[in-house]
Subunit: 236 residues, 2 copies
DNA sequence: GATATAGTTTCGGGTAGCCGAACTTATGAC
DNA sequence: GTCATAAGTTCGGCTACCCGAAACTATATC
């Protein structure tokens, strides 16, 4: 039986990938960006918002096209080619988010869904104009680095707050944008990008982590584990 | 044989129309906006960019859903319901065009294609923010009126330049955005929105129309018929 | 080493939208 | 009135993407 997707990939096809395919690549890229857990079919399915069977099918396509490496029943990894495409989409997404906040008064918890759609709808011209208007930003409102137009990306060294020992200090480098509600909570507690934090204690019985937000006169905040997983603190 | 599209239309469905369907409605609305030529299947097909058979199929669907009136082999007209949807899309399109010109430095010949895609990709929130940032404009860069949020639209009274008698004067109220190249030509000749024009003469042997652009000291421009069809002059 | 189970893949089937070919209809020329 | 032709419609078939059910595999547990 001949696999219908076994034809070779040309440069033309890379730019003609459907937006659905681009979405899969973006998700795979994001899933592996800040930690090293294996990217599996079910993880991808959940993040893209489709059934596992749909994800499996698309993974096979993308692997046959040379964008993914994937042995059956195993984890998925981007090839160099796949990463190139993925970073293009990520760039679009993060520039759009930044633009919406800076130019259209969005709050950081509002941008994600709109950006997910816009990233596929804006032209290269529009992207370039937005980039210039923003002064060529290097990170988005959540601290995620914006890949440059040539596809390089620098991920600032940072640790999840939940992994830090009491006594550690640093500044907030990134806050996961997965849950808008959590972002609103953080905002309330002044937990925003670049604010300095100190881990005071790990609370007993899995009650979370106690931190101080802001300088030495800052307020104390107790974070549940889910929250402490969503915040990255820069290594000093 | 039961027509699969004969089910009734609910308010929910009106907001859940596919973007392709919305595009058809927009095209039908635009085709009938400034003149009264009958809107036929082939006209729609050409403007949407699909084959006549595809257009015919979609027209049948939209008619069955109650958005169009259409007797077989005849012209197409929007129902009130169809017009409501169409004007929503037109509003999006024209606001986007206006935004791209005002905020992202687009020229008026660049905006059309980008707006065609963006009109389906922006959220209501984004539309509202753009509208506010622009100060609630009432017409787009080509002079086309922007329908209000509640769906009212006022088409300023105007005549095609080609229909005016020599000696007539007025100001440019609208310039068709169908052909970007023509727009660039007009720009060169200072033929922009609101500039005053006077029809000097109809040139012999179908050579077009001679006009003066700008006040009494303005420059003389000879326009071919296609160009003189693309310009609307306000009735004074 | 056997086995239960969670995760993955395959399979059959569904929808939206598109096309070209073939067919049908309206209309204008005579 | 007849008839050629242009325009519109129907039909079968295509692709991309999706799903649930069923089959399969890796692995953790015993």
């Amino acid at each position: 039986m001949v696999d219908p997707y076994s034809y070779p990939v040309t440069a033309d096809q890379t730019s003609a990938l459907s937006s659905v395919m681009q979405d899969y690549l973006k998700v795979i890229c994001n899933a592996g960006e800040w930690d090293e857990t294996a990217v599996t079919t079910s993880v991808i399915a959940a993040r893209v918002g489709v059934s596992p069977s749909s994800a499996s099918e698309m993974i096979r396509k993308l692997a046959a096209l040379g964008f993914l490496q994937h042995e059956r029943y195993g984890a998925v990894e981007l090839t160099a080619q796949g990463r190139t495409i993925a970073l293009r989409v990520v760039r679009r997404h993060r520039l759009v988010e930044t633009y919406l906040v800076a130019e259209l008064g969005y709050t950081w918890d509002e941008v994600h869904d709109d950006a997910d759609i816009l990233e596929h709808a804006i032209s290269d011209r529009m992207l370039a104009r937005m980039d210039a208007k923003l002064g060529f930003p290097t990170r988005d409102p959540h601290g995620d680095p914006i890949p440059s137009a040539d596809g390089t990306i620098i991920i600032p060294p940072a640790n999840r707050l939940i992994d830090l020992e009491p006594g550690s200090t640093g500044s907030v480098a990134r806050i996961s944008d997965d849950e808008p509600e959590m972002l609103r909570y953080f905002q309330e507690k002044d937990l925003v990008l670049d604010v300095s934090v100190e881990v005071l204690a790990r609370l007993p019985f899995g009650a979370g982590t106690s931190i101080r937000v802001g300088g030495s006169a800052g307020q104390q905040v107790d974070l549940g584990d889910r929250a402490a997983e969503a915040i990255w603190v820069s290594k000093i």
